[in-house]
Amino acid sequence: MRRILENGFALFTRFTVLALLCGSANWASAAELQVPAVVEAGRGFSISVDGSGQATFYLVGPDHLVKRTVSLGGDLQIQSSDVRAAGRYQIIVCGSSCTSATFEVKAAQPAHLSFFLHPSRVPVSSPDSIDASAFVFDQYFNLVLTPAAVNFRITPASGTGFSRQVMTRRGVAWMRLNSTPHEGRVQVTAVLGNVEEARVIQQVAAEACGLRMKTVASGNRVTLETDPVRDCSGNTLPDGTIVSFTKIDKLGKSTVDTPIKKGIARVQFSLHGRVQISVACGVVLGNEVALNGGL
């Protein structure tokens, strides 16, 4: 919000100054200003101004405005701090008459990376499921539009890592990745020169696969216990995942939604006559078991 207000104020000032100058200045008689067409952000430079005596100097930039009194007939120093923001600048010098020139400030060398890795959790073996986008900025946080090579280094928790080089387009380098078949942390590092930004993505087990339960009889009660609940790649589903057991007997239906603990979901039912028990995890159905009461 503060930045928006500052920019709004700067633009308002800029247009006010320009309007005043356009109204009062004698542009036709002004001497030419020799300024470089392109300047690197944060790099000061000087321009020569013909004439003699005092003049008022204005530098109108994209995010600020400078006004000072200068002496004509010498070099006019533009401070590095005055040209930190990339964009179009205008210099106006007003003595007996006014003259102006424009120049462009381009981003300096890459110094920062803003790196987005999305999502923070992804199921294993999902194609094109990971988005990596790196935004390249200079030390003054101007987006570096000059193409640069960003190296994405992928380091899974197990297995060998690999890297992929992507050129930036309009300051952004991006790529898509498949998630690997093994759960665990995957570190993705965006590297540009000596600038590095690392992010971590968690590869998690996908839907349950081959869900099976077994029964352990104990008097007129039965304990149902799943085999370790795994996805189709063999990864164990995380503890806390809900597994639903449903028992149907002559008394009606009984259901228990129980979380997986140490890879296994376990529940106990009482038995009354013939019962049918099924198991499910999310939308995945497991096996069914038919039992006779009394076991």
């Binding site: 999305h118 923070s120 959790r121 930004e197 809900i242 239906k253 259901t255 979380p259 939308v283």
Partner: protein, 368 residues
């Protein structure tokens, strides 16, 4: 003159005593202890319960009642932070079922109002004549107890460390859980349109979920937007599926061209306990001849659950969700103790339902 003064003082004293008797509930007490019909006896008892005067209500019961004051008070006033403790008796309807010279059976339908809506409590009670007075025979409530024991709970819990807001743009953060609406069905009910279905937390972390629906006209403009409010399990653990129902009162189905669904999930800290089993579910008729889904809830953890809500989804032959109903249980779920529940099913739905699924929402006081 002396006699007149004495007579005046006597009359004034008698009037004041009568006034004090009336003020102290003497009339009600008289009614209670002089009920000439079974209905009067029950009505008098109800008025004492409504006034929360449980000792007085207990005193009016027939001596053959095998309950005691503590059990009676616990049954009527609730305990353990249950929903009944936040309820008050609003109305009571008494209808005779059977009567002879000395005994009668009446149906008592009590309607308790609570912050979560009204709760019906229907029971058939016996009334017995003792001389010229009828008194209610109150059965001892069956409060199950479990033997003292230590319940080991190696419960799972998720905590969330979010991104520091002072960090730069693009800093690492954790995403919201991924949820999916697995089914959606729009049906017309008398005076309203209802959107119902099921939603699944597909992620490996818990989600706090809200499902909203917007009804759209043929030109795409919205008619109305509503949320599922309490007809959903808001906290969904990984791979858990919840039914949802969204009501649009006053909207006609023929005005609706399409529906825009929106499931929003937030990553929240959550616990995987308690596990609540829903046992012996069956569709039957209640005392008022309404179709209900009955069953029992069993809290399998070691801590009491103060308030429980039952959510039931009903499916037709094709596995499509055709109705979602809910009901609150006004007793606390003490560990290992079965507590009965019943949720209403509309008659037209009952005729079409093939299958059903029940889940339980729960609330526990942190201090327990």
């Amino acid at each position: 003159m002396k006699w007149a003064l004495a007579a005046f003082l006597t009359i004034a004293t008698a009037v004041l005593v009568a006034f004090a008797w009336l003020q102290s509930g003497g009339l009600k007490q008289h009614a209670m202890f002089s009920a000439a019909t079974p209905e009067e006896a029950v009505q008098a008892l109800i008025s004492e319960i409504r006034a929360r005067d449980y000792p007085q209500a207990y005193a009016s019961l027939d001596r053959s009642s095998d309950t005691d004051l503590a059990s009676f008070t616990r049954e009527m006033a609730g305990s353990d932070g249950s929903l009944r403790t936040y309820s008050s008796l609003q109305t009571a309807e008494v209808s005779p079922l059977h009567a002879d010279q000395d005994q009668a059976l009446v149906r008592l339908r009590m309607n308790w109002s609570s912050a979560l809506g009204s709760l019906d409590d229907v029971r058939d009670i016996r009334v017995r004549r003792n001389g010229a007075i009828w008194r209610v025979v109150w059965p001892k409530p069956a409060f199950s107890t479990v033997p003292p024991q230590v319940v080991s709970v190696n419960y799972l819990r998720w905590d969330v460390l979010g991104r520091n807001t002072s960090q730069n743009w693009g800093a690492q953060d954790v995403d919201s859980p991924k949820v999916r609406i697995t089914s959606m069905n729009a049906i017309a009910r008398p005076g309203r349109v209802v959107i119902l279905g099921e939603v699944e937390n597909e992620d490996t972390v818990p989600a706090y979920l809200n499902v909203n629906a917007t009804l759209l006209k043929a030109d795409g403009s919205p008619i109305e937007e509503e949320g599922s409010f309490d007809l959903i399990s808001h906290v969904l653990l990984p791979k858990q599926v919840s039914p949802y129902r969204i009501d649009f009162p006053g909207v006609r189905m023929d005005a609706v061209k399409s529906v825009r669904m929106d499931a929003r999930a937030l990553l929240v800290p959550a616990s995987a306990d308690p596990v609540i089993a829903v046992t012996d579910q069956a569709v039957s008729k209640d005392g008022l001849n309404r179709t209900v889904l009955k069953g029992e809830l069993v809290n399998q953890s070691g801590r009491p659950v103060n308030i429980a809500q039952v959510l039931a989804a009903y499916y037709d032959n094709f596995g499509k969700v055709i109705w979602v109903s809910d009901g609150y249980v006004d007793q606390a779920l003490m560990p290992q103790v079965p507590v009965a529940f019943a949720v209403d099913i509309p008659d037209d739905i009952a005729g079409r339902l093939k299958n059903y699924r029940v889940i339980v929402n729960h609330y526990s006081r942190a201090s327990n």
